[in-house]
């Protein structure tokens, strides 16, 4: 009996103590995808998008010019760019939302877990990040985003195409390899851009918990030297060294 009591108490303490310190999501049994995450050279599996034939080269070039403008003028960059911004992401899972914080001068993303409907189009101002709601399906976080601005920020989508105000993005977040990898599958649909849904996957690697993100990388639209650098055509590739005929 004594042994039984001791065993019961120990088990109860082991179960209850950690639970009291968990976030609401954890308490409901969902994983915690919080952490610092980065992409490496082999982290992207991006097939070519199946674009509508109406998207001519001229249209795509015009869109690329707009994206260059956004970079030149330090605009907010937005989704999908900030999911691959060249620096680690800080993802934190709270009780109402999951926040994704890039290190550049773009606002963070909020994946709201406390509501199941998007904000009404009547009042939502389309934005570079859109309006994201998320729910857990087993061990997978499924985020649904609409409400994108069709012109603002970097609109290019990996694999081809670009976001418009008609775009919808569904992301599936899942931890792999004991939580050391975060797989995110992105699926874009847009009747004005894609013939078929366009999916690709990124696999983020977890950084040590002691990582210190850089804060708010500066971008000065009035830095003339920077502007000149961005707007002037790149130097031509040096000619191959002449081969001696001797």
């Amino acid at each position: 009996m004594k042994r039984f009591c001791i065993l019961t108490s120990v088990i109860a303490c082991l179960v209850v103590l950690p639970t009291s310190a968990r976030t609401p999501q954890e308490q409901r049994g969902a994983p915690d995808i919080s952490g610092f995450w980065e992409l490496s050279f082999d982290s992207r599996n991006v097939p070519r998008a199946n674009l509508l034939p109406t998207l001519t080269r001229a249209k795509l070039d015009a869109r690329a010019k707009k994206d260059a403008y956004a970079i030149r003028w330090c605009n907010l960059l937005g989704v999908p760019f900030i999911m691959d911004p060249g620096r680690p992401l800080d993802i934190r899972q709270g009780s109402t939302a999951i926040i994704i914080v890039p290190e550049n001068s773009s606002p963070p993303r909020y994946l709201y877990t406390n509501r199941s409907a998007h904000i009404s189009e009547d009042i939502f101002d389309p934005s570079t990040n859109g309006d994201s709601i998320a729910r857990w399906e087993g061990d997978t976080l499924v985020a649904d985003t609409v409400g994108f601005h069709g012109e603002h920020g970097i609109t290019a989508i990996p694999g081809g195409g670009f976001r418009t105000e008609k775009s919808r993005l569904v992301e599936r977040y899942r931890l792999l390899k004991d939580g050391s990898i975060l797989s995110v599958t992105f699926t874009w649909t847009d009747p004005t851009v894609f013939r078929t849904p366009h999916s690709y996957e990124f696999r983020y690697q977890r950084l040590p918990a002691t990582y210190e993100p850089r804060q708010w990388l500066s971008c000065d639209p009035f830095d003339e030297d920077r502007a000149k650098f961005l707007e002037s055509p790149p130097s031509p590739k040096p000619a191959a060294r002449a081969v001696s005929k001797e």
């Binding site: 004594k2 001791i6 019961t8 108490s9 109860a12 303490c13 209850v16 103590l17 009291s20 310190a21 968990r22 976030t23 609401p24 919080s34 403008y69 030149r72 003028w73 330090c74 605009n75 907010l76 800080d90 934190r92 899972q93 709270g94 009780s95 109402t96 939302a97 999951i98 926040i99 914080v101 001068s105 606002p107 963070p108 909020y110 709201y112 509501r115 409907a117 904000i119 009404s120 009042i123 939502f124 101002d125 934005s127 570079t128 990040n129 601005h149 603002h152 002691t210 210190e212 993100p213 850089r214 804060q215 708010w216 990388l217 500066s218 971008c219 000065d220 639209p221 009035f222 830095d223």
Partner: protein
């Protein structure tokens, strides 16, 4: 019997065990959207800066242009390349309206002392994210880490925190030089203590700022900001609150301009 009592007490205590540095979810109630308020009814944004007690600076130390905080309605002009139009230059002169990640908002002033834009907290057991809608994000580590020994000063400095009951206590150091509301100054060596305290109903947030720097201040410079939960808006039959994006395009001539008196239809 005694053993049973001990075991039962141990079991019950395990429910009530106070949380420690790494697991404070029971105390986390800051999460959500907040907006600053004017509890004294000073009537103008500039006036809000005016009610902050003046910093007691050491002799020889003076605050550069203005009293910190945002200029604006009724406020004395502040200096800076993107500063105000001189009086008598009424229209379409706005020097640098959208500073993006540039030298304006990103200096951290709006992160530490928010203006009228919304702010958001996301609370996780290791870190509290404090995001300002009008620029920037603060990372407040509550995982027990210390300030790093080597640190390059940043706009919002390096913050570590802990919960004391319902109060989040945050210590920040390693700032880039900047102004402090009330005529104060901050340097890389200045220490800021912030106390984020919720009202019992959880709907009012009082932030007490204490700036300490024996090379700048005669005594700690203390003042408070007050916030309410952001007003909910009606969406599809429910009341919601959500983060907004602050879009402003520094390259857009329309977004650079200010007041444009319209063509008169009726004289």
């Amino acid at each position: 019997m005694r053993l049973r009592v001990v075991l039962v007490v141990t079991f019950l205590l395990s429910f009530a065990a106070p949380t420690v540095a790494h697991g404070q979810s029971a105390k986390m109630r800051l999460e959500g959207d907040w907006v600053r308020i004017d509890p004294d009814g000073v009537g103008s944004f500039g006036g809000l800066s005016g009610v902050i007690p003046p910093a007691q600076l050491l002799p020889g130390v003076s605050a550069p242009g203005g009293r910190g905080g945002r200029g604006g309605r009724g406020a004395p002009p502040t200096s800076g390349s993107g500063g105000p139009n001189p009086e008598g230059v009424p229209y379409i002169v706005v020097a640098q309206p959208c500073t993006g990640g540039g030298p304006g908002r990103s200096n951290g002033a709006l992160l530490v002392n928010p203006d009228s834009g919304g702010i958001h907290f996301i609370e996780h057991k290791d870190e509290v994210i404090f995001a300002g809608e009008r620029g920037g994000v603060r990372h407040i580590y509550i995982d027990g880490r210390s300030h790093p020994n080597v640190w390059t000063p940043t706009p919002a400095g390096h913050s570590v925190g802990r919960y004391e009951g319902n109060i989040l206590m945050v210590e920040t150091t390693g700032f880039m030089p900047g102004m402090v509301p009330g005529g104060g100054v901050r340097t890389a060596e200045t220490r800021l203590l912030e106390r984020f305290e919720l009202s019992p109903d959880g709907n009012r947030l009082t932030v007490t700022y204490t700036w300490e720097d024996p090379k700048v201040y005669q005594k700690p410079h203390v003042y408070r900001y007050y916030f309410d939960r952001a007003p909910l808006v009606e969406s599809k039959g429910t009341k919601v609150s959500y983060a907004l994006e602050e879009w402003c395009d520094a390259g857009d001539p329309v977004e650079k301009q200010s007041i444009i008196p319209p063509k008169q239809i009726i004289k």
